[in-house]
Amino acid sequence: MKRSKWYIGSLMLLLSSIVTACGGGSAAKPADAKPSDAKPAASGGEAAKPKGDPVKLVMYSWRPEDKDGYAKIVAEFEKDNPDIKVEFKPFKSTEYNTILTNALQSGTGVDVLQLRPYDGAKALADAGYLTPVDKVKGIENIPDSYLDAARGSDKKVYGIPIMLNNAVIFYNKKLFDDNGLQVPQTWDEFVKTCDALKAKNIIPIAQSGKAAYLLSTTHAVIGPSAYGGGTDFMNAVLSGATNFKDAKFVESIKRMKQLEAYFPKDFVAIEDKDAQALFYTSKAAMYINGSQRLETFETNKVAFPVEFMPGLSGKKGDPAPIATWVDGSYGIAKSSKHQEQALKLIEFIASKKFGQMYSDELTRVSPINGVAPKHPQLQKMAAYAEKNSTPYLLLTKFSQGTPTTKTTFEDSLQGMYIGKLTPEKVAEDTQASADKWFKPQK
């Protein structure tokens, strides 16, 4: 009897130590490390090094394809900061959120992290997982509107924006020239161009619909032709003057439906890489995506000149709107025990030196004032954005809710293409999702 009690007691002790060891889990509160913390402790998956040895910072990103470019940028940082080593750790974009969530909850594994823009960054900041970076040197060179992409509900900035993205319509200039086609400026001209290409057995638009987010990217480019460029429609939605059931927004969805005839056969079953292959092999004439694809075109050594059209004007002669948004920023994990070194890295990311290297190496537009992109296409995009940029509304303002309103919208578009939903129902479902969390700012 005594012995069995002893066994049960030992077992309970063992179980309680396991539970204690595993404790925290998803309910773990973010670590309350201070920037001046210099105690040797676990961070970035390893213990802090004694003075003299370089400190290792682990930097998370969702861009594995940028690894080579980052290697050069990191080398430049390490040259100026021999006491810091940076391990760039990219993960597949679709798995990044899950991996980051686990790392932040456990308080280990990451020091500097790439933040999803707008509501993504806000959620992490509000949950207390990030260190504010308001006071970082160089932040004054980034316009406030771009810093909004990394602000918490307390209005503090928690990340340094690194890239601006533009969604555009890329086209095969040779195919257009060979077929005597002019670059369309309005929706009607665009439809005529698509008809002309289709008549010549060329797929007008290499669109994939398997990953639904690609559909909302296309909508960000096509949509403003129906509801207008600039920020008027966005402001009207945000103020509550209108909503997603607005006839203009429904019209933008109808235009997406109309494009179905110009997408590849069975496009809902094909992936983005298949769509790209159709474009690279000149089987398709146009391809809609973000400016980050310029780098992909160069990597794939596309055999024809690729040009782009920004978007479609409401009226011939008006400046075409170009969808522009901040596509990521870098912040510091509050749980990092190397706050001082992480701040140095963040300071470097806010510098013009980083902005220029990032723009040149990775073919992106930097949000830092005074950094001009070297790539001629990027220069053109920046010029269009200066004249008439329009927000990617669903991404920048409607990435909240479970599922997010953006996710609901793009999934519903997919539903529309397989005949399950009408354009009106897509708008209705999108608004129903927004109604659950969005309060108009009257």
Binding site: R3, Y7, L14, L15, I18, V19, A21, C22, S26, A27, K29, S93, T94, Y96, N97, T98, T101, L104, R116, D119, G120, A123, L124, D126, A127, G128, Y129, G209, K210, A211, A212, Y213, P264, K265, D266, F267, V268, A269, I270, D274, L278, L395, S399, Q400, G401, T402, P403, T404, K406, T407, T408, D411, S412, Q414, G415, Y417, I418, K420, L421, A432
Partner: protein
């Protein structure tokens, strides 16, 4: 076995009083060998279950746990749009998945096991060949079949066109009417070798004398299968049916690899595992809800446990009857 060895050693080599003591210690020491497995089991199975149960009882704001809210997450899961509709749709797909696997995996595997159990040549080769898919990773299988079923350059549509059946070619994974069934068939291809081996073990355990006696009584062919083979192979059928049920309700990786986390196209292949993943971890644009996700995990656990218990009861009764 181990304790007997200890006993013998103790009796042979040591004087009586300490020997008895040592024997007693050794007898209990054996239990310590179970501890490492128990630690893993508790740490990776029991603890997460309790953690999920705990999480499901709290409000969550993003990754931060809020106040205790009782069963509200469960109520939202079953009563609020779009959670309830998504749950019912995904549950329906899990049921279809299970029925589909029974028809395409278990039935085929049983027939193959019957053939291999009969006196055919090269049975070892067939056994190995059928088992090979199980050696591959599910993610690799998903990737390979995504290529094979690709509507533009996939091998299946190319083959159909080559033999003059292009009318049958379709976007297998992009058509809501075929996507789920295509995945069920891929899953069956992946797992039927294992099921066949389990059935084969069950069939080989049936004494030949029973068949001989049946033959003397005039039974043959299908009658022997239905009256002798099937009832006597019931333990292996029970194991495989229950494993298939659990597999069908836990399924996640293959669909995630082939159709992404929304069970494309437009939730046509969505199942409870995917739905749990989306709720708990969100999508690229966020939208996670750990509370409702945890509530779903608890519901899933209860569902699988109850269904498994009921089917075990049913199968046990069948065994007794025969």
């Amino acid at each position: 076995m181990t304790s007997t060895t200890f006993d013998r050693k103790a009796e042979m080599n040591l004087p009586k009083p300490p020997a008895r003591r040592k024997r007693r210690i050794a007898k209990h020491l054996v239990h310590l060998f179970l501890l490492p497995a128990l630690v893993f089991y508790v740490g990776f199975m029991i603890y997460p279950i309790f953690q999920a149960l705990l999480n499901s009882l709290f409000a969550w704001k993003g990754l931060t746990r809020g106040p205790f809210i009782g069963l509200q997450n469960f109520v939202r899961l079953f009563t609020e749009t779009p959670f309830k509709e998504t749950f019912v749709r995904a549950l329906g797909h899990n049921v279809t998945f299970f029925i589909g696997l029974v028809l395409t995996k278990l039935v085929v595997a049983f027939i193959l096991a019957l053939l291999i159990n009969s006196k055919i040549r090269g049975k070892e080769l067939f056994k190995t060949l059928y088992f090979v898919p199980k050696l591959l990773s599910v993610i690799v299988v998903g990737f390979l079949f995504s290529l094979i079923l690709n509507p533009t350059y996939g091998a299946l549509n190319t083959l159909l066109a080559a033999i003059g059946l292009e009318g049958l070619a379709r976007p297998w994974l992009g058509d809501p009417h075929t996507a789920l069934y295509a995945i069920i068939i891929v899953n069956s291809w992946y797992g039927f070798g294992f099921a066949m081996l389990i059935f084969l073990v069950g069939l080989q355990a049936i004494s030949q004398e029973v068949y001989e006696a049946a033959r003397i009584d005039g039974a043959s062919g299908l009658k022997m299968i239905f009256t002798i083979t099937l009832p006597l192979a019931m333990p292996s059928i029970m194991i495989m049916t229950i494993l298939t049920f659990i597999g069908a309700f836990e399924t996640f990786e293959l669909i995630y690899a082939m159709q992404g986390n929304n069970g494309a196209p437009y939730f046509s292949t969505d199942v409870l595992g995917l739905y749990f993943y989306r709720l708990t971890f969100g999508s690229v644009s966020g939208g996670e809800s750990i509370g409702i996700g945890s509530a779903l995990a608890v519901v899933l656990l209860v569902l699988i446990s109850c269904a498994t218990a009921v089917s075990m009861f049913f199968f046990k009764r069948r065994e007794v009857e025969h």
